[in-house]
């Protein structure tokens, strides 16, 4: 395969950006959900989005 270092760098960057943002979003949702369940009196025993919220 010609130009292998350039191709590897491009694919590596793509994986890094995609996976980085995906993992960050997943962790952020998890953190927010846990904190909300801990302090929101309407959410005891309910997962966010499965109950009425206003």
């Amino acid at each position: 395969m010609t130009h292998l270092p350039y191709i590897a760098a491009a694919y590596g960057l793509a994986v890094l950006v995609g996976a980085g943002f995906a993992v960050d979003a997943w962790l952020r949702v998890g953190r927010a959900r846990r904190k909300l369940e801990a302090i929101d009196p309407r959410r005891h025993g309910a997962r966010p989005g499965r109950e009425h919220a206003g």
């Binding site: 491009a10 960057l13 793509a14 995609g18 943002f21 995906a22 979003a25 997962r47 966010p48 989005g49």
Partner: protein, 258 residues
């Protein structure tokens, strides 16, 4: 502070009423929670499949050799750089005109993701340009206008976080986003308006694609996968932002009650 459908004026015009139906955080979390796996799983399958197809199966170009495989990342990233900014500007317009309480959050969450994909587009363009043009960068109209787009994203990210009152930051960011829309046609038509080193558009709506079908299909799969991935990431970030706003509201209420 949490906004809800209850704040919708009774005599609001029809488009605003239909938009505000989705302003209820509970409804948004329900819909987005259902939607997220339908975005994320196909995104993962299509992106990995498209990249593997482009890397191992698609033929090399007769002139560029295997360096052509970089387009399977560069073109979807370029599409999302412009498409993401258009989505950011639309959310900003909805937030400014209809004061939709989720539109400003959506604009804030699109910004960093769009900036990252614009940076990826510029970086992969450089990685392709060095072996093909002999230079990492040239001050070509297409490259320069995409660099301006990257700075617009950075400006938006900085501006929405620059005020103590988030509402003022969202408003300033929305105005910047709308002004920056003028750059999108410049990016699109730069290769037609000026004599650029960057090649003309490979994919057009009206004309036939200027590439072989064996290269076109993996490219289309990558574009679909990247687009779904972008939507999934923004949806997840928006879910987190809605919950974080609710947390801030609850903590404030608890502090005031104490």
């Amino acid at each position: 502070m949490v906004c809800s459908v209850d704040s919708t004026p009774a005599l609001a015009p029809s488009p605003a009423r239909s938009l505000h139906r989705f302003a209820n955080p509970g409804r948004f979390l329900r819909i987005s929670g259902w939607l997220l796996p339908w975005l994320a799983i196909p995104a993962l399958v299509l992106t990995l499949g498209g990249l593997a197809w482009g890397l191992f199966v698609a033929p090399p170009d007769y002139q560029q050799g295997d360096a052509v495989r970089i387009i399977y990342i560069h073109v979807p990233a370029a599409w999302l750089a412009s498409g993401g900014y258009l989505a950011l500007a639309l959310c900003s317009a909805v937030a400014l005109v209809w004061r939709h309480p989720l539109a400003d959050l959506a604009a804030v969450e699109i910004g960093p993701v769009g900036a990252a994909f614009t940076a990826l587009c510029l970086a992969t363009g450089s990685l392709w340009g060095k072996p093909m043009w002999g230079a990492w960068w040239v001050w070509d109209a297409r490259l320069t206008s995409v660099l301006v787009l990257f700075f617009l994203y950075l400006g938006h990210i900085a501006l929405v976080r620059a005020f103590d009152d988030p509402t003022r930051g969202y408003r300033a960011g929305a105005i910047l986003a709308l002004v920056g829309v003028v750059n999108l046609p410049v990016i699109k038509f730069s290769v037609d308006w000026w004599n650029t080193l960057h090649q003309p558009s490979t994919l057009t709506i009206s004309g036939a694609p200027s590439m072989h079908v064996d290269m076109l299909w993996p490219l289309l799969v990558c574009i679909a996968g990247f687009s779904l991935g972008f939507a999934a990431i923004v949806t997840a970030r928006l879910r987190a932002a809605v919950m974080e706003r609710r947390i801030r509201g609850l903590l404030l209420a608890q502090a005031q009650a104490a």
